[in-house]
């Protein structure tokens, strides 16, 4: 296989600059409860380091990108995140390379990554672990992490993403991807990971993994193109929640979703899958679905089904030419052949940790953050690093940080094992807070701290100042289990993100800089003028000195003259 591929390389380079050694792609479908579907697209390609540097990444600026052993972006509803290990002797050098990297990626992905400035960059100490093989190269590495919580991911980011693929969305699973469906999904994420892989006794290769994950609402995605505007369904089409006691022919409690809706791949994505990408590794089946064996699935002819021995998933080898689609028909819950939910979908596995974060308090002066972390497992301890990178205008008071445990009895209170804290500096850098926490089984941890909302200069507010400022998601890195009997899924680190938050700051009145300058200056002038007047002028009695002096005297003189003249005129008339 490998020889075949290396034979392909020169050929390939004619078509694609990036992809060299080997490439495979896979689409994983996972029907979820409540009529949702998780679609995970995975594209992975390897390129040898020498070729990588010899070809399109020749310019100096991009070699740093090549050297960066691991570099990932994660894009989703909560912004854009970028982190990289950069090889540099000093921190300043790392900062320079970081600047180059963000600007290069910004151009590459049409994203505003160049706005990741020093206030949005942190250097995580405990979070993130390098992936891939590095040898001793890690000693000189600086990990930098930046996040843009307000960045919205859209079609202009998908197009360059697809351009990086060898089949560019024309064939293979990438032919399913279109901006209309991807950005209409309930949840979506696009990521690119680059890591070096050094197989034993061979040249090191650089692995680029591009992933797109999306959770589709089946009913919403099935909405036909001709009728894209959601309208209230007519009465006879209403889906009712039949479990309500008052449900009858003329009363209906609408249910949010209906179970067991029939769907097909081309309905959900708006177009069928167009064959396979000719460059893909033929050993890897392009489409897999996680569904129990009892689930009926119909496919287009010419497709080979490969069943997974565990009975929970199956994959499809599809012909290289022609369209592919699959239909998951409606399964009746009644009658002789009644099916249950368990027959239709695989129960999602329980995650290691649940996390949620919210603001507490009210008003625009101060507030608090509360993170609730739940370990659902009845018997295993979960150890993780909780990292916050907060904007500088959110002044946190670390002395108010508290970790409270609820749940199993007899737990020790100091579950926070290590704290790394780098306070924010106004207009220079944000707060970085990392906590290493061990959470006992079946218990809940409440992390709380207080902060103060600063007021900014009026030029520092965005045009929509009263909308608020986005605060980046906190990143939870679950550390690998050290116990020998841990399952394989616990042997590697995994990341978890909370939602981002919207922080509203006090705002000045944007319409009156001139008024404020004038009013304040007047107040100062009044105070200064009054005092100056008192200090420099001499006292005299009210009846002393030059009586007719000054403007007042002149005015009095003028009035006297005028009245004399008026009197004289009156006299004449009479």
């Amino acid at each position: 296989m490998r020889s075949f591929l290396s034979y392909l390389i020169p050929l390939l380079l004619l078509f694609s600059d990036v992809f060299a050694s080997d490439y495979h792609e896979q689409l994983n479908l996972k029907p979820l409860p409540q009529s949702s579907l998780l679609a995970s697209f995975n594209f992975r390609s390897n390129t040898s380091l020498s070729q990588f540097e010899a070809h399109n990444f020749r310019p100096m600026g991009c070699r740093e990108l090549g050297r960066a052993p691991w570099d990932g972006t994660k894009e989703g509803g909560t912004g854009v995140e970028l982190w990289a290990w950069l090889e540099a002797d000093t921190e300043e050098e790392a900062d320079l390379k970081w600047l180059t990297l963000t600007n290069a990626l910004s151009g590459l992905f049409c994203a505003s990554l160049n706005f990741i400035d020093e206030t949005r960059t942190t250097r995580p100490v405990m979070s993130f672990r390098p992936e891939g093989d590095h040898g001793s190269a890690l000693d000189n590495m600086h990990l930098l992490h930046g996040v843009l919580p307000h960045e919205i991911v859209c079609t202009e980011n998908l197009t360059p993403f697809l351009k990086l693929l060898p089949c560019k969305g024309k064939a293979g699973i990438s032919s399913l991807l279109s901006g209309h469906k991807l950005f209409d999904a309930s949840w979506q994420s696009m990521a690119i990971d680059i890591r070096p892989i050094c197989p034993q006794g061979q040249e090191c290769v650089l692995q680029i993994e591009q992933t797109i994950d999306m959770v589709l609402d089946v009913e919403r995605s099935k909405r036909p193109r001709g009728n894209p505007i959601p309208r209230p369904p007519p009465g006879h089409d209403l889906k009712c929640n039949t479990s309500k006691p008052y449900h009858s022919g003329d009363t209906c409690f609408p249910s949010d979703f209906s179970e067991g809706v029939e769907w097909s791949l081309d309905q959900l994505f708006g177009k069928p899958l167009k064959g396979t990408c000719p460059l893909t590794d033929l050993d890897v089946p392009p489409v897999c679905i996680h569904a129990p064996e009892s689930r009926d699935i119909l496919t287009t002819p010419g497709v080979t089904e490969l069943k997974n021995p565990d009975g929970l998933s199956r994959c499809y080898q599809i012909p290289s030419e022609g369209d592919f689609s699959m239909i998951l028909p409606h399964m009746s819950r009644e009658g002789d052949n009644a099916k249950t939910v368990a027959d239709e979908t695989v129960q999602p596995e329980t995650p290691l940790l649940y996390a949620e974060r919210s603001f507490t308090g009210h008003g625009q002066e101060r507030g608090g953050v509360q993170s609730i972390l739940i370990n659902p497992s009845p018997d295993t301890v979960v150890e993780f690093v909780y990292m916050e990178s907060l904007p500088w205008f959110m002044r946190i008071y670390l002395h108010t940080l508290q970790a409270r445990v609820e749940g199993t009895s007899g737990v020790k209170d100091d579950i926070v094992e290590e704290i790394y804290y780098r306070p924010a500096l106004d207009r220079t850098r944000g707060t970085q807070l990392e906590l290493r926490v061990r959470i006992p089984p079946a218990s809940t941890v409440f992390l709380t701290y207080e902060f103060e909302k600063s007021i900014l200069r009026y030029t520092e507010y965005p045009p929509d100042a009263n909308r608020g400022f986005d605060v980046a998601a906190s990143i939870i890195t679950i550390l690998p289990s050290t116990s020998p009997g841990a399952p394989p899924s616990r042997r590697k680190t995994s990341n978890l993100r909370t939602t981002s938050l919207l922080l509203s700051l006090p705002t000045p009145d944007f319409s009156m800089p001139y008024n404020v300058i004038i009013f304040t200056s007047t107040a100062i002038a009044l105070a200064f003028g009054g005092l100056y007047n008192i200090l420099v002028r001499r006292f005299v009695g009210a009846d002393e000195g030059q009586a007719a002096g000054g403007l007042k005297g002149k005015l009095a003189l003028l009035v006297a003259k005028l009245s004399a003249r008026v009197k004289a005129a009156k006299g004449k008339v009479e």
Binding site: E365, R395, P423, R457, A523, I524, G541
Partner: protein, 420 residues
């Protein structure tokens, strides 16, 4: 005249404060969180944060929260934790208030306000005793609120009052030491140096008198320089770097933290155009320091009056003023009881100050919490507050100058006058 006379007063003041601390346990934290009491450079909560970082070996100056003098850190880390055992902190603040009141008592008892070396007022018999002046300070609601809110500028207040009291009692060196401590804590008190030097010069002990003013000034300035450098050097040793310099004094010069307060600076610099920011910072500081020279020269015969007027001006125009500053300024005004009849706008000034005292918190609430007002509401109140205070200060200046003039021309007492 001794401690016995005032023990009852001090006891009552301490009891009142401790009673407030005990019976209203939420009051101290409420006041600490008020922008009128706590400013970024004095806030007790920020001190707690600085202390927490200091005790956990993180430099408190490598962050945007703590902007107070480094020596406060070891002082407060000696006290037990303020959260668990708040009474030690309460007692410290009550003690500082009483020590300040005692200094004020001594200043009032000296009679310097009415009879200085170069001037004797014709109305000197109408002065209030030290007991009354100390009582007015101790039972001033602004002072009590300051004590409960625990901002760190009570230490500055105490140091300034001691500097004045020591200068009057003929201890120029101790006085300069106290002034350098005040300047070390808050920076702006260094502007009080010229009138204080004159005050100390006038009130020297006859036994060890320096008759010429130049050598005296030289020695005092040297003392201040030496003690300030000493304090800064200790701070350097304590924190291990000069970072604290830009964080404590730099912020007062550049106003990077724009948290609202009762002064005029914050809103002005929020709304300032970026290209003019540094120009106006220079103008504001120049304005603040411009009063020192003029007043010192014009009211040369009464240095204590100069200091009183300057304290009033600082409480209006300094970068981060709070009610602690007006409580200091109102503490020294009663020393001039004898010239109150000469003041023209006392009612207007007093009602303006009362008006803004009550409306300020209300308008702040409307802006920040209710959302039914905007920043201009609170800004307008700070304008009124500043105007009321500046009226009080200029009226006091007028009364002092008229009192001086009436010594020259006793026949003009009670007559209508004008200024030309």
């Amino acid at each position: 005249m001794g401690f016995q006379d005032t023990a009852g007063l001090y006891g009552a003041a301490a009891a009142l404060r401790l009673a407030l601390f005990t019976f209203f346990p939420a009051l101290p934290d409420l006041l600490t969180s008020r922008v009128e009491v706590s400013t970024p450079v004095t806030s007790f909560k920020r001190l707690q944060e600085g202390l927490f970082l200091y005790n956990h070996n993180v430099s408190p100056y490598d962050g945007g929260v703590y902007h107070q003098a480094p020596l406060l850190l070891p002082l407060f880390s000696l006290l037990p934790d303020a959260q668990a055992y708040p009474y030690f902190t309460y007692l410290l603040y009550v003690l500082v208030d009483i020590v300040s009141a005692d200094a004020l008592y001594k200043i009032a008892e000296s009679g310097e306000a009415a009879v200085s070396k170069l001037f004797g007022s014709a109305r000197k018999d109408r002065q209030w005793s030290g007991y009354v002046v100390a009582a007015i300070f101790l039972f001033n609601p602004f002072t009590i609120a300051t004590c409960l809110g625990r901002p760190t500028n009570v230490f500055t207040t105490c140091a300034i009052l001691h500097a004045i009291s020591k200068a009057i009692s003929g201890n120029p060196l101790t006085s300069m030491l106290a002034l350098s401590f005040a300047a070390y804590l808050s920076m702006y008190p260094i502007l009080l140096l010229p009138p204080l030097v004159l005050l100390a010069y006038d009130r020297q002990h006859p036994s060890k008198k320096i008759t010429s003013i130049l050598p005296f000034t030289g020695i005092t300035i040297l003392t201040v320089t030496a003690s300030l450098s000493m304090l800064l050097a200790i701070s350097y040793l304590l924190t291990g770097s000069w970072e604290f310099f830009s964080s404590t004094y730099g912020i007062q010069l550049t106003l990077t933290d724009l948290t609202p307060n009762v002064g005029l600076w914050w809103y002005f610099f929020i709304e300032m155009f970026d290209s003019f920011r540094s120009f106006f910072l220079g103008v504001f500081w120049l304005h603040l320091s411009s009063y020192v020279g003029g007043l010192t020269i014009r009211i040369r015969s009464q240095p204590l009056a100069t200091i009183t007027i300057l304290l009033g001006i600082f409480s209006i125009f300094k970068p981060y003023p709070s009610i602690a500053d007006i409580s200091l300024s109102l503490a020294v005004v009663p020393l001039f009881r004898h010239i109150f009849p000469l003041m023209r706008y006392t009612f207007f000034a007093a009602s303006t100050i009362l008006y803004s005292t009550f409306l300020g918190p209300a308008f702040y609430y409307l802006w920040i919490y209710a959302g039914s007002g905007n920043a201009n509401f609170f800004y307008a109140i700070t304008l009124v507050w500043s105007l009321g205070q500046s009226l009080l200060v200029s009226d006091l200046t007028f009364a002092i100058l008229r009192d001086e003039w009436e010594v020259e021309r006793p026949e003009m007492v009670g007559k209508e006058i004008r200024q030309i």
